[in-house]
Symmetry: C2
Subunit: 113 residues, 2 copies
């Protein structure tokens, strides 16, 4: 039976770690809702500093979840949901493994009964 390990410690870690923080998750939501946004723009509606938002956006960019594009004196961020697929695969794999185990258990019970 194949193991559950899908990525073995690659990019999925960074994605989940980035999404682990509620603030960063809501940031992703905000950017996704606006299509694109800047740090100061987002900080206006948040109870935190611009620098805080910028740092979080930097973390999200490191995880590949957002993309920064500087034009003139402002840097706009937009969502790049591609890395989410890796996370999705991981979850699906775990669920599948669980289902498989469950099916095996059912088979075992059916045989023994």
């Amino acid at each position: 039976m194949a193991g559950v390990r899908v990525d073995g410690g690659g990019r999925v870690d960074r994605v989940f770690a980035a999404l682990g923080d509620p603030g960063r998750r809501s940031l992703v939501e905000a950017v996704a809702a606006r299509g694109s946004a800047t740090a100061t723009e987002l900080a206006r509606d948040l109870p935190v500093t611009r620098q805080a938002v910028a740092k979080q956006l930097g973390a999200l960019a490191d995880a590949g979840l957002v993309r920064a594009t500087r034009t003139g004196r402002e840097t706009r961020y937009e969502v790049t949901p591609a890395p989410l697929e890796d996370a999705l695969e991981w979850m699906v794999a775990v669920g599948a493994a669980w289902d498989e185990r469950l099916a095996a258990l059912r088979r075992s019970l059916a045989t023994k009964s």
Copy 2:
């Protein structure tokens, strides 16, 4: 247009926070692979203490990702992947919002050009 907010700060936060730690993620993998496992059992193959594993399993249980069942002197944990669906929905929603924005942008460009 509907916002991106799917859960508004409910259980999804806990799920992502729980899955944010690589150690906990590999724990979920290990439990899923074995079908069920105890803390000491898992700690045997890991470079950490039993208490560490137990604490992590507790966190996972709080997030609803595993379920503890004590029988006799041992408490076995099994994966309950139901909360994963919420996380899945969140990701899908974000991706959808992004796509929607992209489509709107394309429409806008098509209209203006």
